[in-house]
Amino acid sequence: MSDIAAPNTASPLLSVENLKVHFAIRSGVFQRQVGEVKAVDGVSFSIDAGETLGLVGESGCGKSTTGLALMGLVKTTGGRIGMRGSEDVTQMRSVPRSYRRRMQIIFQDPFSSLNPRQKVRDIIRAPLDIHGLGTAAERRAEVAKLMSLVGLRPDQADNFPHQFSGGQRQRIGIARALALKPDIIVCDEPVSALDVSVQAQILNLLADLQKQLGLSYLFISHDLGVVEHVSHRVAVMYLGKIVETGSKKAIFSKPLHPYSELLLHSAPAHDPRKRHSFSAVSDDIPSATRKPSGCAFHTRCPLATDICRQIEPVLEQKADGQSVACHNR
């Protein structure tokens, strides 16, 4: 499961190397480029079969853009995305269907990610239609199978999305993602819009499906509790870069990067006897458009020294497969 167990000699299912997604900032009458936002700036990671990699960070850190880039939904600026048995897709003008079939996505908002004018049956069947899989009768049977797999009643197939609750809609989104029997599902904040009691249902469903179908997940979330619960390995992102990665246990019990520490210390304790004395002081939080020099975290870092302001640290391997990008650790 985690990278400590079973040293895998074969190549991982998905390997991403030095992925970059830069957006141009244009302005003026001629829409001349005046700058760029390095939303994802040299991100590398890998995911094994049956594994969940949690990608955690705060808004604007580039975690969702990373997911969209993997799906071929935003144009990459550089890097390599390799799926075992498929070609690198970053250099292609359009992502081939054979690749798309192997990677699917579940979106955050179950309200805007489903077409309100389509019946649930048609929503779930759409991927099968597009890829031309099976006969009409087979597709119909497949929709029923998928619906029961995600805990929906197949007799509701002719209903429209608005007739379902938020949790049920997220199940519809999951059924649609499963239709092509993908190897990897990008889960982009799949439970953030849901109430806690329903959130638990969806997290349990995702765990069951992983066990049953041997799926791999790239689980993108800002919620440390959720990431800790679902992940085997965790990568922490800050302003377009992965600053630390390692097994779930390593990241949550001995985080090395000062940003990972800050994240963990900011999470509420769920125990009134262990209240934090949170500092009310605001720190200067930079954004991807005005990224600090050197280590991007140095403006908020208690350990920052001169070198941090000048030279950007690279991700270095420490013990137990934990890697950290910090001059002081």
């Binding site: 009691s197 638990a200 800790e228 900011s266 999470a267 009134p272 006897r273 009310a280």
Partner: protein, 336 residues
């Protein structure tokens, strides 16, 4: 209601409040039999999921209910004065002065065409006889109070020029401008990143210690409750199902809904230093919240409750004191 001095006049007293929404097929209740007492210096958290009536409760406390909703019965007393009997003019005098609100989304709650300083000054001038310049100076002092970096400059900026955390600080400054006795905060940190949430929670508890305001904090997040509450009210489908001190709630939750919520939250603390295994299952609560216009006859939670008996399906349990200071509405625990 333990550990609070009984001889202090409550800042806010709500009794038997019922709020209903006027729908196409008649009125249906969104808040039923709400009772609430908040004393100076106390923080009461109202917890629940969407549609449980917590935000409607908050809005009714400021008489800010939407046109489609109305208070059907009950009373709201602010420092002893009957708030519901007041005329519009009196309400406006009180609102922002003695009772103020912090909203979830500062970007929509703040006026985009006024600078932060102007907005705070406007609120101050509404309630205090101050000149423009004095009011603006007071706005800057309020921004200092909420530890806004560079308050002089920020006071001259517009909401869109500030980050989410700074906007929320500005909104807290706006709420505090007239030193209200009661603050109602509706999900004040939900829209914020976790590191900023920590700062704002720190700020809210600092300020309360200094100013001694009575606070009502509406949230869906039990983590926030654990950090900040003195007393907690858990709501489900428009009703209180449990009420007790924050310690009692986390040590000894009684209502199956509360217990379910606690099991349903994955929280980061659970793994610090503990064994790593494949993710175990969360205890989810099956089903969904019933629609308020079609509530079950007995206990509203019964259809989702693992321990529901025949009685739960037909008779609604009363909200009573089960152990000293610990109230719950459940047929179980009757002999506790």
């Amino acid at each position: 209601m333990q550990n609070v001095e009984q001889n202090v006049q409550p800042a806010l007293a709500v009794s038997d409040l019922n709020v209903e929404i006027l729908g196409e097929n008649g009125a249906f209740p969104v808040v039923s039999d709400m009772n609430l007492l908040v004393r100076p210096g106390e923080t009461v958290c109202i917890v629940g999921e969407s549609g449980c009536g917590k935000s409607m409760t908050a809005l009714s406390l400021l008489r800010l209910l939407p046109d489609s909703a109305r208070v059907a019965s009950g009373s709201i007393r602010i420092q002893g004065e009957d708030f519901l009997a007041m005329g519009q003019r009196q309400v406006e005098d009180l609102r922002g002065d003695k009772i103020a609100m912090i909203f979830q989304e500062p970007l929509t709650a703040l006026n985009p065409v006024l600078t932060i300083g102007e907005q705070i000054a406007e609120s101050v001038r509404q309630h205090r006889r101050l000149g423009r310049r004095e009011a603006f100076a007071r706005a800057v002092r309020c921004l200092e109070l909420v530890q806004m970096p560079d308050p002089e400059r920020r006071a001259r900026q517009y909401p869109h020029e500030l980050s989410g955390g700074m906007r929320q600080r500005a909104m807290i400054a706006l709420a505090l401008a007239c030193e209200p006795k009661i603050i109602i905060a509706d999900e004040p940190t939900t829209a914020l990143d976790v590191t900023v949430q920590a700062q704002i929670l720190g700020l809210i508890s600092d300020l309360q210690k200094r100013l001694g305001t009575a606070q009502i904090l509406i949230t869906h997040d039990l983590g926030v409750v654990a950090e900040i509450a003195d007393r907690v009210i858990v709501m489900y489908a428009g009703r209180r199902v449990e009420e007790c001190s924050v310690y009692e709630l986390f040590d000894n939750p009684l209502h199956p809904y509360t217990i379910g919520l606690m099991g349903a939250v994955p929280h980061a603390a659970s793994l610090r230093g503990e064994a790593e295994a494949a993710p175990e299952r969360l205890t989810d609560i099956p089903g969904t919240v019933p629609p308020l216009w079609d509530l079950p006859k007995g206990c509203a939670f019964a259809p989702r409750c693992p321990g529901a008996s025949a009685r739960c399906l037909t008779e609604r349990p009363p909200f009573i004191e089960k152990t000293p200071g610990h109230f719950a509405a459940c047929w179980e625990h009757d002999n506790v």
